[in-house]
Symmetry: C2
Subunit: 375 residues, 2 copies
């Protein structure tokens, strides 16, 4: 993983190389059989596409099958899914999946327009609402329906900022309180600055292989027990209830079935808390709490690193950072480090099953991965 930064000054290729070389060296593999790149905004912000061949060339691995995979803010998550399928297909053995995104160095209107590419430009973008605005509508509806005060959902970013203090690659190293969240500048009512993830550059990468191949390179491979993607009607106006991400339910139900696991088997969790309310909703939609009861888990300490369900143990999107097309890969990498006891100061005690959830748009695409330690 590259450090997340809002002023990296690095190009897309340079960001990619930071994580790709680290992943390849860590895995101890030589040549690759495929390279898959998750990214959302490079066409719009950098006027650069063809990231597959660009990055494979940068790596000196030109020749391999390669392409870019995009699913808005879940681009990293769906890229992992594409990589898993490449291995499962039998066509490729050793596959690199990397997310890369460069969002800093652009004006706020540019980045805001870029983020709204996740929504239907002609029917929703045309109204002028921003991506934060859409999430604010979700937050308002959620708080109203379940009678949850802002204080309750504000606990989520507080948890993430605390965890990020121990992650040297996190974008923000700043302890915050619930009061800090509630008193931070308003972005889109009711969401305030500390309810929202920031703008950053970053890159994260993984090496995937069939288990028998992985066993040749390491004594402690992490098993991808399930990789599932689901979608939902793209826009809020098309959904009966905006306080649920149906794609989160569908993808996680499918993942639990494939992995033969239940929510109670999960002992490390990375969820897509681009906005505070999404972190709380994720706990519910993934099966860890009933609707309206997600924030109670946070309040009761269940999501702390020493709790029953350690969540966003490296700081999550809020504090590790959210370079949009990368977050899904950061999450899987973080879970893998946890399961191999290499999470250093972020380590939780001997987790055996981890789950990550990556959200595209306002829940239009959701990727869920379940990882399992092998020994």
């Amino acid at each position: 993983m590259a450090p997340v930064s809002s002023g990296s000054g690095k190009s897309l290729s340079e960001l990619f190389m930071q994580s790709a070389l680290e992943a390849i060296n860590d895995a101890g593999v030589g040549s690759l059989d495929g390279v898959y790149v998750g990214n959302m905004m490079s066409g719009f912000l950098q006027h650069q596409e063809h990231l597959g061949a660009l990055m494979a060339t940068a790596l000196g691995q030109e020749g391999v099958p390669t392409y870019k995979v995009e699913g808005a803010c879940a681009s990293g998550g769906v890229a992992v899914n594409a990589g898993v399928k490449s291995v499962l297909s039998g066509l490729e053995d050793i596959v690199l999946v990397a997310g890369v995104e460069k969002m800093s160095g652009y004006s706020t209107p540019e980045v805001t327009t870029g983020l709204m590419m996740a929504e239907d430009r002609l029917r929703v973008g045309a109204t002028g609402i921003t991506f934060v605005g859409l999430n604010a509508m979700i937050a308002r509806a959620y708080m109203h329906k379940y009678k949850i005060p802002h204080e309750a959902i504000a606990q989520f970013p507080v948890l993430c900022h605390k965890n990020a203090l121990d992650n040297p690659k996190a974008q923000f190293h700043k302890k915050i309180s619930v009061d800090d969240v509630l008193n931070s500048p308003l972005v889109a009512d009711p969401l305030r600055l500390f309810d929202c993830s920031g703008i950053g550059d970053g890159s994260a990468a993984l090496v995937l292989a069939p288990l028998d191949v992985a066993n040749k390179y390491t004594d402690t491979p992490v098993k991808v027990a399930a990789s599932a993607v689901a979608s939902d009607a793209l826009s809020l106006y098309q959904r009966p209830d905006v306080t649920v991400f149906e794609a989160s339910r569908k993808a996680s139900e499918r993942a639990y079935a494939i992995a033969h696991k239940k929510p109670e088997d999960v002992n490390v969790l990375e969820v897509h808390d681009a906005f505070s309310v999404l972190g709380v909703m994720a706990l519910e939609d993934l099966g860890f709490a009933r609707k309206g009861e997600g924030s109670a888990l946070v309040k009761d300490g269940v999501c702390e690193r020493d709790g029953r369900l350690p969540t966003n143990t490296f700081g999550g999107l809020k504090a590790r950072g959210h370079p949009v097309g990368t977050s899904g890969v950061y999450q899987v990498a973080e879970v893998a480090l946890q399961l191999t006891n290499r999470a250093e100061k972020c380590q939780v005690t001997s987790p055996s099953v981890g789950l990550s959830q990556s959200v595209g748009g306002i829940g239009g695409t959701i990727a869920v991965h379940i990882l399992e330690r092998t020994k």
Copy 2:
């Protein structure tokens, strides 16, 4: 397939629906297990990403796994590869793959900048050279190295324009001669207007399934005998010989091996003739002629619909049209129609094996598919 048009007036969703509904109705399938969308330029031109969920929603198939796949002008070809892997992975049975691209309605500088997203923006785009300019350098080097006159490579677009006369969905219905090509306006020396594919909107779609599932829906499924993607060093300056597309060689060699076929088994061929010289080079790099001898095949009538190797039977990129992220899907759809004797006026006599080649950038990514009739 939607008709290719430079003035469709349609949105991305409308273009997508034209081909997706036709493919679904033709296949006779109800619900889908996955939707994969090939597209290159929507982020830059339409400020729209998240095409997977956008299109699945438009289809009323929200819920399914879905994402966008991008590999520059080979986006359609690599999307087919992603769809094939989704089926091979065992995770999904009935999968829709669609290419969609909208290029009309924008200024020439906008589209020119968009096409250069296929190249390294920082090292090559920054010089000011256009995408046609890069291909002109290839044409000049090719003509010089193999002592091939422009007249010889100009035969390729002449063939394509002739074939497109019989394709009601082709962008251009205009018979041209070698003299017409040589006397058309200069675009980038030596390439002239009729050496170059045009700007257009379009969409093409396929339904993929495991053979046993496909057999429930049709008596004449077409077998995907191989799907292979290869890459090359992205930029011309990084390659020892710009008159060969190594990725074309690699992808086709792999595809022949997987399909247990040789070039001489192929009896219908769709190649990526975005520029006349690329059509000629494809004949060589895919193994149908030695280097420098591709144009002789065209001259000798081998590539005619009644020849030994019918090529670009619906008009190819030059005359059927080249909405960049779609062409790889049009090609596979056209080969499938040929193999099931449904190509109407474009039909060649009883082909049993077809090959398509989709090129991203100036050969940085190449997808090759080999299809086979099943009865």
